[in-house]
Every structure is written in structure tokens, then in C-alpha cells.
Amino acid sequence: MKFTLSWLKHHLDTDASVDEIADALTDLGLEVEGIEDPAAKLRDFTIAKVVHAEKHPDADKLKVCKVQSDEGETQIVCGAPNAREGITVVLAKPGTYIPGLDITIKVGNIRGVDSFGMMASEKELELSDEHNGIIELPSGEVGENFADWLAANDPAKVDPVIEIAITPNRPDALGVRGVARDLAARGLGTLKPVTVDPVPASFETDLKVSIDNDTLDGCPVFYGRLIKGVKNGPSPAWLQDQLRAIGLRPISFLVDVTNWFTYDLNRPLHVFDADKVAGNLRVHRAEGGETIVALDDKEYALQAGQMVISDDNGPESIAGIMGGAETGCTEETVNVFVESAYWDPVQIAYTGRALKINSDARYRFERGVDPAFTPEGLEHAVRMIVDHAGGEVSQVIKAGEVPDTSRAYKLDAKRVISLVGMDIPESTQRQTLTALGFSLDGNMASVPSWRPDVQGEADLVEEVARIASLTKLEGKPLPRMDAGVPKPILTDGQLRQKNARRTAAALGYNECVTYSFIDRKAATLFGGGDDATMLENPISSEMSHMRPALLPGLLRAAARNQARGFMDMALFEVGAAFHGGEPGEQHNLVSGILIGRTGPKDVHGASRPVDVYDAKADVEAVLAAIGAPAKVQILRGAREWWHPGRHGKICLGPKKVLAVFGELHPKVLREMDIKGPAVGFTVWLDEIPTPKNKSATRPALAAADLQAVERDFAFVVDADVEALTLVNAAAGADKGLIADVRVFDEFIGGALGEGKKSLAVTVRLQPKDKTLKDADIEAVSAKIVAKVTKATGGTLRG
């Protein structure tokens, strides 16, 4: 919403400066987005008089002028044809910036004659395109500031333009008058009365307006008057100036009038060319399928239920949104029908959205125009049209009734103070509401008809607080809910996320935050991409589906990094993935990927390609950090995006999957443009059982005093025997004695023959009550061999 200072002063009697007004507006909730002050660039120019002018000795078209300024007489060489003795001019002294030329004037020497400044043209000051000569002022004293002279003599030229942002609750401030009212309530001036002297009817028209019964809820009232014999044409200068200043293009007087009242009083109007209206006007709902070419020259197909104004030829106006081109006014229009109606905000909002029309009328009606002002608004417009363009006016044609919006709410002065936390005396509170147009009966405040947003006591509080100025609010400590040291607040799930995140970073992974939506192809590769998780209005096809997992986003990120020349990386993310489209159909994951080598090639030869066991180490560290049970099963058969032979599911039983680690399927990597193998892991954070024992106390440490003994065994087993089977068998041989079984070597093929491998384990024996003798060790070794042989079908390697 834009307006000029002089337009504001049309409604507000004030001496406040532009800056004071701007500060107040922002504080009041009418946030100033910009101020354009044409005077600002003219402040350095002063008024001077040419006391003598003669031809330049060496140039026919130049004159050497003696100019009287506030600093005495000075000499200026000037090329303007009108430079002559006796005229009052606008002087730019050396050092002054000339906006129209984008230069700063310096002392010059023109063909041998010194020149101390410049006399400006209107174009050079960006006042107009006039450049045939320098400015000749009809008045003005030597030394007077030119900006001040303009403000006094030609204010439109230096009228500051203020642009404010209007929140959706303030339709009243979409008119300059509403803005003025707020400022007056704040004490920045006095609101001037607005009155109109209605034009008396001089003839009776037969034109009728009707509102269908089913449309009265959308258009409760419609006023109009017919004006015959107007003379349309360009608007008067002041009207054109004001419209141009706020960025509107003057079109013709009749159209400009409606635009002006839209901005001045927030009263959108429509003017029909009465000669193009066939028969009577009827406000009704579209049946659906009718078309209308609107004033923007676009054709719109109306949907059933949308409100239109029709004549005998069909729809002529999209009610409250945009008039029709067919009955619009032109320069030739002589007979007009002026409409002032009230349209229901909700219905206008829906229709406007459906038809995708953004007009000043829709913008205002959907926020709420003052219904009570409907008839008066009409009289304002008719008066202005007749005063300027002449014509005879019919009786007022009216359909429906102005809706009753009267309501009152209790002003609870104590509650206001309690909510705002500012000590605003009750008298001030009442004064504020009165200034805003509320009327008070006891402690009941009746809401003015132009404030549809005020719907309860809380709104009164807001009005009082806003006018009192929230800038003046002073903080008061928020007392603690419980005295003393604050209690921990993170839930188990939150702690788990935090610990998983910090652990992954400690393991050398860089945390990513990738978009929650991803392209259908990537989503499909990871088990998603169905319609349930699809967005209706994605901003691009790259972001069409909610992610079914974190891995696709990480792989896309990896591909981007590879494209930048970074081939080795460790990335992870902690966040939600979506298994459905209903609220709550999301689950928390942590996923990591390792791509390329463990590090750049190095002097120690430590760099090697990453592999499944790197991913396994990291997933185990993450699981340990978030308190997952140490005893787990490792199963196969995870989803299809893992390498079928090179992955493991970390499970508590076949159905409870805590995590998966492994190599990603080469086909998936190819589809996602990843170079080289990639390994990764995913942990289902919500699946980790919460430890039952919340006590801080640890179990006592059982550290045996006796020396432990380690023995190595190597077994030849079939190649597909899993190491964990062997380890579990060995560990089960004597649970009391065997503290640990660790695989330290795997050897495949060679002399062992096809399909065989050797697995070597170290078994650590921890005696508890007596030192082990050779015979004890022999005995447990035999048990281990027996158990392993039975479990794996292998043999002890000789």
C-alpha cells in the first residue's frame, strides 16, 4: 500500500515530519517498507537571481551570467536560450550533485571563461523531461532552499511517497483514511472529517438491480446510480499526480475515480458503460461454464456458484473481483452506471483464488471492506464524477440491505495490563479505542464497521497495546517453573539422535541436511515413490516425493561432490523418512555412506578402498553410542538396494531390525551416477529398545585376579559358513571360562581346495578360582573343537 504525504494530509491534520510518521507507522503495525522523498535530492539547490547576462566572447550560444546567490555574486557560463538578466533561477554551487546528469558540479573554465556552478533545468533535477531551458521561478528569495520553495509552491513535485506493508487483518488500512486514523489515535495529528454532499437526483431511471436469494449471503447489499451525459477524458492533474505517485497509470477520469476511492477510502467501485448494458442487472451465482472477458482482456470460465453480475446478454462483471471488458468505460463513454456493493470476503477469496485473478478489488473485498460505508462511498464517487465530468444523476438504485455487523466486546482493563505487561491506565485504554472509532458503553466496546478483524476481547487488547506502542514494552523476568537447578529436558529419542549424530561425526563423517523431498526415480530405488508420498504441487520434479530413506539424498549429495572432484567422502544424516502420506507416518533414521578410499593416497600406504567392514565398524559404534543391546543377530535379506551378498541386518530376532550395513547395490549406484563402490549403513533409531534400568549405578566390576590364557585354533570350513556361527559355537564350549572369541584370520582357497576356507580364532580363557593347568586347557580345547566341528561341519586345521 502506497500513498503520498499530501494524500495523508488530506485526512490527517499534522505537523509531523515524514520520519516521525514512518516511525509511528512501523510501530503501529503498518510496517514502512520504503520512503521515496523527491525533496531529498534537491536539498543542496538554492534560489538565485541572474543580475547580468552577456554573450560569451568566444561562443555564440553561450552566455556569461552574473548571478546573485546567498554567498554573493558569482559568475556562471550558461548555454540555455532563456538565460537572461532578471530571472529567478535554481542554482547548483560547485560540489553539488546533479541527479539528472549523475555528476557533481565543479568550478569550470568554458572557452576561457571561469564558471562557478550551474543553473538547472527541470530535467536535470528530475522534476520533468523539460530541458529547453533553465528553470525560471515565478517567486522565491535569493538563498532560499529550492526544496522548501517547491514544498510551498508546487508540493506535488516533492510529495514523499510512503509504502507500507498491510497485515491481512487490517483492511481498513488499505485506504489512506484508515492509515490516518491510526496515526491520529497515536497522537500524530487530528483526523479530518470526511463528508459528502450527495448529488440530487434529476431523473428517474428504469434500470433495476436484483440479487438472487441464494446470493444474498455473498452480496447482501448493492447500490448504484446512473449518470447521463458525462464527459470522460483525462483526469485533472492532481488526480493523475497522486495515482502516478503510488505507481498507478491514469487511464481515464471515470476509471481513475474508482481507483482513487479504492486507495483513499478502501471503497472499490465499478463503473459500467450504461449504453452497453442490456436490460437490468442481476447479481447471481454462475451455473458453471459461462465465460467472460474481463477488464484485463483475458477470458475466464466461471465455475458454478461464483458470483457474477449479468445483464440480458449474460455475465458482465466478475463480482467484487473484476469488471467485464464488454461493459467497461472508454473515452467515448457518456452514460455510466456506478456500482458500490459489499461482497463477502470468504466467497471473494475462493473465487479469486480459483480464477487466479489478483486485482485491487479482490485484495480488498477478501480482507473486508466497510459494509456500512457502501451507500456513502457511492455518493463520494458520483459527486466527484459530476463535479468534474458533468452529467445528470438518477435516483439511488438499491438491492438488499447493509448487513448488520454491530457487535461489542468487554474491555477488561486489568486483563489488558496482565496480558501486555504494560501499565496502561484504563482511561488511556478507553481513549485509544474511541480514537479508533469504537464506541464505549460502560466497559462494552462496540466495534466500528470498518474493523471486521475485531472479533473478541483479545482484539481489543491488541488495539490498546499497539497504540500504546510495543516499542516501549520493557521486559520482565519469566519466573522459573520450579526453583533450583533445571531438570534435564531431552527425551530418550532426542538423546539418541544427538548421540548418534555426535558419534558419526566423531567417526569422521560430515553431517548433511538434505531436502525431505526427492525425485521419484531416487525415491523408487529406495522403496518409495508411490502416490501416497507424492506432493500435489512440488516446486520441481527433483523434489516430487517425500523421501522413503536418507540414503538417496546422501547419494545425490555424493554425486554432486564427485562432480566437483571430491571422490572420497563420508557423509551422514539424521532425520525423518516417510513411509506414508498420513501425519505420523514417518520414522527417524541415521544413515551414513562411505565412498572411495579411506583417505587420500599417502606415504604410509594406509589408504585403501572403503569396504563393508568399515561400514560395520561405524554402525556398531553408533549402535553402542545410543545404548543398543550388545547381543544382536546378523541376518541377511535386507531390501533390494543393498548388494545381495555383502550386507548384514543387525537384528534382535528376525523381525526386529535395528540397522543394516553393507555395500550398496551396483545398479542403484549406477542409476544415481555414483562412481565406484559405496558402502553405508542405516539405523532405525525408534527401534532401539529403551534400557529398562534407568539407575546411574553400575554393576560391580568382576575383574579376575588370575592370569588369562589365550589359545589359537584354525578350522577348515565350507566357504559359506559364517564366522559368527563358528565364534558362537566356540564361545558356547565353556561359558564360564571363555571370556572372548575373536576371529583373526580368514584364508580362502589355495591348498584348501575349492569351496573351502580357513578361519582362525583366538580364544581367551579367564579362570576365576584357580590357575589353569595344562590338563584344563586341553580339556576346554577339545570341547571347543567338538562344538565348532558340530556347528560348522568343519575340521581343525592340522
Binding site: 555426535r502 525431505s516 504441487n537
Partner: protein, 354 residues
């Protein structure tokens, strides 16, 4: 006996290596060594002679033994020195590489914010990111026709043909978490709701997903003045400098009165500094929770009142850490992650600093 002593001490002093020392040991105090043989002769002496010669011989033996071990140690030291002199490594060669991981600024700042509000008794609440339009809009006093609803650039989920339910939305703010938390726990309540939010907007300064933290405090007599204090305490703790705020009247459907909150800042040479100067930067929206919102969350607005606010996590991360471009937050460029990320051990705490 003195001859013997000076002979061996000088031989020991001259010994060149460990084997020479060993030879001397055998020669002097070995089983058949010169001193051992002399000691054997003690048996043949008279008791009087023995009383003199015995202790003297023992003393001599001890002296020779300690001279032997001293020399042996000296020789070992010299040999070690010699070996170490040859064991030179170029320590300017690079160390073995270790990957260095990082925490994303959004996670770091979320933890910082949580630490500050935890001290003021706020818990951290979470909720669904796909929301019903009731939780995202209606419960927050944004009915279907409300202009704010259109202005929010909402993402809607797809509805299958014939499914006439209103589409769900990707939450446009974390306010639905406030509603769900109030429904579940009633009043009094103090929570912050950090998390991802979505709006269909993508340009220089907007991404279709960003992160927000909202706060909610409901009690018997919480006022807007308490809100101002809470936010000033928060910003001061967060930026590590006393930060003043300026409240300006505004409008949000879910609060009344509503205020936009600016923080004090200065711009010097294009560099923004929070907590000094006389500039103001708009960072946050806030207000007193609208009675209709409390009602929607089944809290009696005649009994309870309180404030709510919302601020962009990415935005305050950019302000504090001088990160220029929002879009880069979600691009996962390794160079960015390493440059703007945080060490795993840099856990924000109030006592250790944020």
C-alpha cells in the same frame, strides 16, 4: 690387594665393549677369578689373619662388581646413543590421515537453542512433518479462506482419485507441534519446537525447506513483558553479547497482540554485528497466544494465557556464524560442510559456552 684393585679398576675403565667387561668379570670375580681364588685361601688363614683379610676381600669384590656394572651401563648408554643417532626419521612427512567429521550448523544451533531454553524450563517437543490442515491451519485460527493461508505457499500432498478428504500439508511452521503438545499435556506448559518446515518458495533467500524453532509458554499470568525478557535473555545467551530487542505491532492469526521482534545490530563495512549499534534487524515473530488457539488445544483461555514465538534456525545460524547463503545449507558441498561445520566434541553447554 691394593695392586689388584688398581689393576682391575683401570682395566674396567679401559674396557671397550660388553664382552670385554664380561671377560674381566670372569677374570676377577668369576668362579676361578683372581679375587675368588684369593677368597678361597681365607680357609687356610689363621682366625686373626682371616679377620683382617676377609672384610677387605669382600669390600674389594663389591667395589669391582659395582665398577663392572657402572661401566656396563655406560657402555649400553653409549651403544644406544649410537643406535639412535642412526634412527633418524623425516618427521615433516605427513601423519597418517584420519577423517575429520563435522556437525551441521543446523544441528549445532538447534542444540544451542535447546540448551538455553532448557535452562528456562522449556522442553523440546516434536511432531509430524506431514500434517492435517486442521493442525497446521484451522487450530491456529487460520480458516480456509484466510489470506494468510494462501500467502504461506503451502505444499499439499497428493490425494488419490476419489479420495475427497482435504489434502494434508507439509507443515508450514512447527506450530502444529504446539497444538499437539497442549492437547497432550495441557497447561502450564513450556516447550520449544524445533524442526523442518516447508514452503513452496525457492530463490536467493528462500528454500522450499527450512528450519524453525517455535517457543510456547502458557501459565496463569505470563505477559508480553515476560516474552520480551525471555527473548532478550535468549538472544544474549545465543549471541554471547547483551542484545536488545524492539517489539513492533504486527499480526499473526494465532497470536493477539502480535509483535515482530527486531534485534539490535550494526553494519560496519558490510559486516553485521548483533548486540551493538543502533540498527535493527527483523528476526522473529511472536505474540500472546490467541484465545481461539488455546481453545482449539483444549485449554481454557479464561484460566490460562501465555506467549508463543517463532524464529528461523538457519537464519540465526547465518547471523551468528556469518554464513552467507541459505541454499548452501542443503547442498551438502563437502567444502561447505567442513568450513561451517562443528567438531563432534564441540557440544554446546551453558557452562562451557555456546
Amino acid at each position: 690387594m691394593d695392586d689388584l684393585k688398581s689393576k682391575y679398576l683401570s682395566l674396567i675403565a679401559d674396557a671397550a665393549d660388553e664382552s670385554a667387561i664380561e671377560d674381566l668379570r670372569v677374570q676377577a670375580v668369576g668362579k676361578k677369578g683372581e679375587i675368588s681364588l684369593k677368597m678361597r685361601e681365607l680357609g687356610k688363614m689363621t682366625p686373626e689373619e682371616r679377620q683382617v683379610a676377609g672384610p677387605a676381600l669382600n669390600a674389594l669384590k663389591d667395589e669391582i662388581n659395582s665398577a663392572l656394572s657402572a661401566k656396563k651401563a655406560a657402555l649400553a648408554d653409549a651403544a644406544l646413543d649410537e643406535r639412535l643417532r642412526s634412527e633418524w626419521l623425516d618427521v615433516t612427512l605427513p601423519a597418517r590421515d584420519g577423517r575429520v567429521g563435522t556437525i551441521h550448523p543446523i544441528s549445532q544451533v538447534t542444540e544451542e537453542v535447546s540448551a538455553i531454553f532448557a535452562d528456562m524450563g522449556f522442553a523440546v517437543a516434536e511432531g509430524p512433518q506431514i500434517e492435517s490442515d486442521w493442525y497446521n491451519f484451522d487450530a491456529l485460527n487460520i480458516p480456509g479462506h484466510h489470506p494468510a493461508r494462501a500467502e504461506m505457499d503451502t505444499f499439499y500432498t497428493h490425494r488419490a482419485e476419489g479420495d475427497d478428504r482435504p489434502p494434508h500439508v507439509l507443515r508450514t511452521h512447527t506450530s502444529p507441534v504446539q497444538i499437539r503438545s497442549m492437547e497432550a499435556g495441557g497447561a502450564p506448559i513450556r516447550i520449544i519446537c524445533p524442526g523442518r518446515v516447508y514452503r513452496a518458495d525457492y530463490d536467493q533467500t528462500h528454500t522450499p525447506m527450512f528450519n524453525q524453532v517455535e517457543g510456547l509458554a502458557i501459565d496463569k499470568d505470563i505477559s508480553m513483558a515476560n516474552l520480551k525478557w525471555t527473548l532478550e535473555e535468549f538472544f544474549s545467551a545465543y549471541f554471547g553479547a547483551r542484545v536488545k530487542t524492539r517489539f513492533r505491532a504486527s499480526h499473526f492469526p494465532f497470536t493477539e497482540p502480535s509483535a515482530e521482534v527486531d534485534i539490535q545490530c550494526s553494519w560496519v563495512d558490510g559486516q553485521l554485528k548483533v548486540g551493538e549499534g543502533d540498527g535493527w534487524l527483523e528476526v522473529l515473530g511472536s505474540g500472546m497466544v490467541h484465545p481461539k488457539v488455546l481453545q482449539a488445544a483444549k485449554i481454557d483461555p479464561d484460566q490460562w494465557q501465555g506467549f508463543a514465538f517463532g524464529v528461523g534456525i538457519d537464519r540465526i545460524a547465518m547471523l551468528k556464524y556469518g554464513i552467507p547463503d541459505l541454499r548452501a545449507f542443503f547442498d551438502s558441498d563437502l567444502r561447505w560442510l567442513r568450513h561451517y561445520g562443528f567438531s563432534a566434541l564441540q557440544v554446546p553447554t551453558l557452562h562451557g559456552g555456546l
